[in-house]
Every structure is written in C-alpha cells, then in structure tokens.
Amino acid sequence: MSTSSDTPATVPPAVELDGITKRFPGVVANHDIRMTIRAGSVHAIVGENGAGKSTLMKILYGMQRPDEGRIRINGEDVAFRTPSDAIAAGIGMVHQHFMLADNLTVLENIVLGSEPGKGGILDTAGARSRITRLGESHGLRVDPDRLVEDLGVGDRQRVEILKVLYRGARILILDEPTAVLVPQEVEELFANLRDLKDQGFTVIFISHKLDEVLSIADAITVIRRGTTVASVDPGSVTARQLAELMVGSELPTPETRESTVTDRVVLDVRDVTVRGTAGRPLLSDVTLSVHAGEVVGIAGVEGNGQTELIEVIMGLLPFDEGRILLGEEDITTWSTLRRREAGIGYIPEDRHRQGLLLEASLWENRVLGHQTRKPARKGIWVNRAASRKDTERIVREYDVRTPGIDTLALALSGGNQQKLIVGREMSGEPRFLIAAHPTRGVDIGAQSAIWDHLRTARAGGLAVLLISADLDELIGLSDNLYVIYGGRMVARLDPGQVTPEKLGGYMTGAIAEERS
C-alpha cells in the first residue's frame, strides 16, 4: 500500500510505524497504522479533525502507548514510556498550542527542563551561545533575552522549534503548525523547515490545510477514520484529490454566492467601546450592522476583541460607550435572558464552557437557554415531555448521532455536540444568530451540515454574525467581511474580491486601517 517502501536500503527510514492500534472508549483512535518516513524529508500526515492524527503523534512522542504495533526509529525497535524516552531517541514535538511560559525570557523557556548547570548554577552564558549558534545555523533568529510575552505568534513558534532542537532532536513533529499563523508567517516557517531538511533533519508535518501540505511535503500519508488510507507523492496529486482521499467522499464547500441580503437591519452595533482594566481598550468604537438574510463575517487573529464583541452583544460584558439595537429596539441595557427571548441565538466559541451542560442529558441541554420559552417551559415547570419531543426533532433534523436523548452530552463527539447546539439555537425562530467558530473541531461531515443549516437559515431571513479563524469558511459564507485588529474594525471587505493574503495583512496589522 505504500509507495515509499522502495527507500534505498542503505539509510534506514527515520520512522517506521507498523500496525499501530490504539483503542479508547468511544473514540476512533488508531487502527493498523502503517507508514515509513524517510530520513531528511518533510513528511506530511493529513486527515480531517478527529481522524486520529493527534493520537498517532502522541504515541510517537511517548505520551500514549499503543495497544498493538511496532515503532522503529532509525531502524531500531523502540517502546516509549514517556516523552523523555522519545526525546532521548531524538524526537521533538512542537505542539499546536504553544507551551511556553509568558513571563520568562526566550532563553529561559528554551532551557526549561534541561537546564545546563555548573555546580548547581544555571550556565546562562553557555546556553546563550548555544542558542545563538543553533538559531544562526538554522535561520531561526530570536533574541534570547526577550520576554516571550512580547513576542508575536511566529516568533513564539520559532522558540518552540529552537527548544526542540536544543534538546538534540533530529526528528521534529509539528502538530498543525500553521493553524495560528497568517499567510506571510507560513512562508517564513516553510523556509525554516526547508532549511532544516537540507541539514538532514526529518520533519513530520501534521495538517489539514492541503495547499500548504502540497507546497512543503516530500511525501504525504492520508489518515481517515483512524487508519492510513493512502501514501501519495505530492507531485502527482491535486489538493482536491487529496481532500477526497481525506474525506472519502465528495467535498463540501462553504460557498454561498446568490445574495439573500435584505435592507432590513436586524442588529445594529453603534460606536461600542469597552475600556477594560488595562491601558488599551478591548473594543473601541466598533460599529457594524447585520441585515436580515445576511452573514457578516469577522476575521481577526484570536484575542483582538472578537470574544468581547460577542459578549457585549449577548449582554455578558458591560460596555462603556455606544448602543446596540435589535431591530428597532435599543437592547443596550437588556439582560442576557431578555436578549435571548427577543430572538438572539448563540453558538458559543467554546461549547464546553458556554454551550453545554456536559453532565446533563441531551434534552436538558435542549432546555438550556430556552428555559423561559416554549416548548421548554410551562408556567413554573420545565415541560419535560415537550422538551424531549423537540430534542428528538433536533436529533433527527440535525443528524445528531446519539443512542438517545437521555444520553449525557459528554458522551457525544464534538461534531455531534455542535450539531445539537446549532439545532437548539435555530429553534424558536431566532432573528439574529451569533455563530462563533461554528465548525471548530468538528469533522468534515458535520462541518458541511452546519454550513448547510447556516445557509438555509440565511435564505430564510436570519441575520448571522460569523466569527471564525477559518479564512475559507469566512470568505465562503460571508456576504460582508470585517477585520478586527486590536479591538478596532480596521477594514470592511468584499469576500468575493479578497484573497487570504490580503486578509492576513489586515489581520496582523501589516496593512494599515482602511475602509472600502
């Protein structure tokens, strides 16, 4: 099944996985994973969310032990018990979410855990010269004495890579390294990776962004439903073929082209400012309006005021200046409950924190947020029968895969939890919907279903505010696109015209404020 099995016998492959299987309760983890990774290459592992990539990498990095199968590093059988074993074998991992201490310097972060000592005292000078040498030889230049909290995302990633190299890794695992980067930073990262490859390092690159994979990888392994389904040569496949291998069926696209935008304003945010406790305001003079039948997208690097904007609209965060109108009514002083009752739906960015009661049944989760409205309410009582019936409707119409409506929400996969939330928030005929990262962490099947539901509701006159980190989703679904940066709306763009590169420029502040 593998096309890379004809590797020259002289150099043993950097990594060989043979029949790796890992079982978890309720999760498609790994089943009979086989792959061979050539030394000195960039090997991409692609698969949709939940396909089992992360589990596989955890096994390779010693964080999990496989139930079956063999791992060979440079031709030798290994059995890792902890990540230290993996590090000793020359494997390094750059996590998707950076694991750096903000209030330490770059140098301190890099040596953390393997501090060079001279008689119990940290050998700062030795570490500094080694880091500088490493940085120069690999083109990863970072000032070792800067505080990590002052660094941008790209620099932080370089620190993570340096940290791994400092520990002597020859095989680098990068878990979704581009998820947090804007296009320009991705180019820099790729240059670094090519550099490393030329010096003989092996890079395992995990991603589901296929264009990037095609541009950087020397070999690609596709994982679907926990098992390796194909090994392909990037020169001989297109992104679309690759995607179809990943999904195993036809591809969904988020495109919505025929406009359903009306001239009726549903949500009107006017000059909203949140000063916050720190010096810089969290939101300043944010103005935007969403019309019936319109999807307004908000693009921005996380932490630039999206969360605050959502919470201000939901009435969870008080603001200092400005007004918010829903239709004709000024809802500035309304409680969250009253806003919900007035027809605001909310798909929260963190469904476990704000969207679900994990230890409650599905039908109780149907009541959540609707406890004062029909069908969930009957006077002072919770209308159990009606709530259960309506939950069954949601399970049916939104294809929530569950054994039943008495199942606890935590037993469902992320995609099914999200479909339940979408179904709930679409109930009761909302006028306006906040969809924050509606397809984050859900599989492609659920993703296209959620997109379909959003499109249908939009055609039915729903006004949607879409916040997402997925630029394709934003460009594909939105009728109007705003960019938020540092708590300000810095650009209003036509999603039909904009390119991801241009969007990235606004998101990082590289292109100055402008309104088109």
Partner: protein
C-alpha cells in the same frame, strides 16, 4: 438494555454500600485500638432491647433524631446543588428556633393557625438571616463560606442573649436551665404514636414527633422544586456550569439570592421538631450542631432528597447506638469515628462512581453508535 438513569443510580448505590462497609472496617480498627471487640460493638449497635417497649423507644429515637438531620441535609443540599456552600445553616436554625419559639408563646390561636404561624416565622427568620451572606456575595463578592461561618458565631450569641434577656420565660422552682416562655398547647405538634398503636405496639416514651410528617412533605416539595421546575433547572445548570448558565440567560445574582434564602428558610425548620414535639420552648439545652451534621448528611445523600433521608436515618441509627455501646464498655466516641469515616468514604466513593458512570456513559454511547453503522451511512447518503 437498562435505561441510563437506572444504571447510574445502581452504581451510586453500590458505591455507597461499599463506602459504608469500608467505614465499618476502618472503625473496627479504631474499636480494636480502644481495646474492645468490633463484633460486640456491632451487636450492641443492632441491639434494640429485649422488650417491645425498648424496641419501640429505640425506633422512635432514631426517627426523632433523623427528622431534624433530614431537614438540615435538605437545607444544605439546596445550596450545594449550585456550588453554594451554606455553612450558616447552624446559625440560621438556632436564630429561627428561638424567635419562632418566642413568637409562638405570645398568643393562643386554634392549633392549625398557631402551628402555621410558628412555621412561617421560623422560615422567615432563617431565610432573612441567610439573605445577609447572599447579599454580601452578590454586591461585594464576599465568599459565602466565610460570611456564613462568621454569622454562625453571631447567631449563636444572639440566641444566647435572647434566651437570657428579652425572650426569657418564667423559671420553675428548682429548674436549672433557662428557656423561652412555654408554648400554649395549641402549638404542641400532635405526635404520631398511633403509627405504633395501629400495630398493637406500645407508644414510645418520648413520642414519635409529628413533625416527621412535615419533613416528609418538605422532602417531596424540595424534590419537586429541584427536579421539575424552571427554578430547579436553573439551580442545576448553575451548579453544573456557571459559565454555560450565564450565557444561557440565567442571572447568577438572582440565583445566589434565591437559593441561599430558600436554603435558609428550610434551615429555619430544623429546630421545630424538637420544640414543637418535646421541649415546647427554646432552652439553654437546645440541641446544637445539627447544621454542621446537615453538611455531612447532604454529602452522604448526594444532595438528593431520597439519599438525604437514608443518610439521616443512618446517622440517627448511629447516634442511638451511643448508649448501648457504653453499656458494652465501648467508648461511645466510636460512633463519631464511624460517622466521620462514613462521610469520608462516601465522598471518595461518590467521586469514583461519578467518574465511572461518566466513562461508562461514553463507552455505552460509542458502542450503541458503532452497532448501527449501516443506518448511519444511509443517513449520510440521504
């Protein structure tokens, strides 16, 4: 296949049973250390006496002890349900008891009205006293644990002052304790001795307190409020996830105030079984510490009325055992050790069974979904 809910309940019960057995094992070690035999101790605990009279008295003692513990457990559980720690049940019930006992002694009305007034006064005082920490928490962010602990001291001393001063009644010659004026007979809660007489048994010496009926009714009402009403749903949601409740439009401040006041109002009733059933006044030898025991009872009963009832009966049973243990030359403090270890074990068991049932639930869902892949596929295709 067994319904998910039933399975969870069974697992919980099994956990509690194992916890009690473990506690008995640990206590046996303590009894051995005290130089006695655990078997003798167990025999003494289950020895309700030889005559019918003794047995009836023992049962009445257990029930009479369990009633206030049950009410205390309910009061604590209402707060616990939403992660609100009302440690102030102790102060709330004592203050409520003395005020209700005094107010009830100041007039004479037909029994139903007289009793209703006393119950309402007790609930009002308890609720209002619990309102103080609730308001402090909502407006000033004062932790309710600290506020209620401090308010316990204040309540205890106010009660001591009142019984000595403004609320004091006439002391009969030769009586050592002081108390509020005696309640008129219309405020004496009728006892339930007929329950024994129905079966041809003798009536217990102390009488079976009629407040037992009120407690059962209260348990049902609390269950209905917590499990069936919108308010109960909001309490549950706040307890399971404060952030999700907030985002769903549950007003956290309102919830803190109403749950705390409800908890305090129920707490106000704790002293009444004793006052209306036996002493007919609030005296300086009024039973203290029920509020703190209520915390243990609520933990043991997993904040559910039925569980709390079982826990209260268990504690009543153990408290009764103190006297026979002494006769068997075993230090009665063994009972306190058993109670302590049971609570500790049950808390551990709860944690374990909870995790087990959550994990089990995940597995079950996965299994059932895996069993119907063909159906899932056709759904996708459609």
């Amino acid at each position: 296949m067994m319904p998910a809910g039933l399975q969870r309940t069974l697992l919980t019960l099994a956990g509690a049973a194992v916890a009690v057995l473990l506690a008995v094992a640990v206590s046996s070690v303590a009894i051995l250390a005290a130089g006695a035999s655990p078997v003798t101790a167990l025999e003494a605990m289950f020895d309700f006496g030889d005559t019918q009279n003794q047995v009836v008295n023992a049962i009445a003692f257990i029930l009479n002890r369990a009633v206030p513990l049950f009410i205390a457990g309910l009061a604590v559980a209402i707060g616990f349900r939403m992660n609100l720690f009302n440690i102030g049940v102790e102060g709330q019930y004592r203050l409520a008891a003395i005020v209700a006992a005094f107010v009830g002694s100041q007039f004479v009305l037909p029994a139903p009205i007289q009793l209703t007034v006393i119950v309402v006064v007790a609930m009002l005082v308890g609720g209002l006293y619990a309102l103080i920490p609730a308001v402090l928490k909502v407006t000033r962010g004062v932790n309710e644990v600290i506020a209620t602990i401090m308010l316990n001291y204040i309540a205890t001393n106010i009660a001591a002052f009142l019984v000595r001063g403004p609320f004091t009644g006439e002391r009969a010659a030769g009586q050592l304790t002081i108390s509020t004026p005696e309640l008129p007979e219309s405020a004496w809660f009728p006892n339930l001795n007929f329950l024994f007489e129905m079966f041809g048994l003798p009536a217990p010496r102390s009488g079976l307190w009629g407040f037992l009926a009120v407690a059962v009714l209260l348990g049902v009402v609390v269950w209905v409020v917590l499990e069936r009403t919108r308010f109960g749903f909001e309490v549950k949601a706040s307890g399971l996830s404060a952030s999700a409740a907030l985002a769903s439009g549950v007003n956290p401040k309102r919830m803190v105030i109403s749950a705390m006041v409800l908890s305090g109002a129920v707490a106000g009733l704790i002293g009444l079984p004793e006052i209306l059933g036996r002493t007919h006044s609030y005296g300086s030898n009024f039973t203290a510490g029920l509020g703190f025991l209520g915390i243990a009872v609520a933990l043991l009963g997993r904040n559910k009325p039925v569980g709390i009832a079982v826990a209260a009966l268990l504690f009543g049973f153990l408290d009764r055992a103190a006297a026979p243990l002494q006769f068997a030359d075993i230090p009665p403090s063994v009972v306190a050790i058993i109670q302590g270890t049971i609570v500790l074990m049950v808390v551990i068991a709860n944690e374990i069974t909870n995790r087990m049932s959550l994990r089990h639930e995940e597995r079950r869902a996965a299994r059932q979904l895996a069993a119907t892949p063909s159906q899932a596929k056709t759904e996708v295709a459609a």
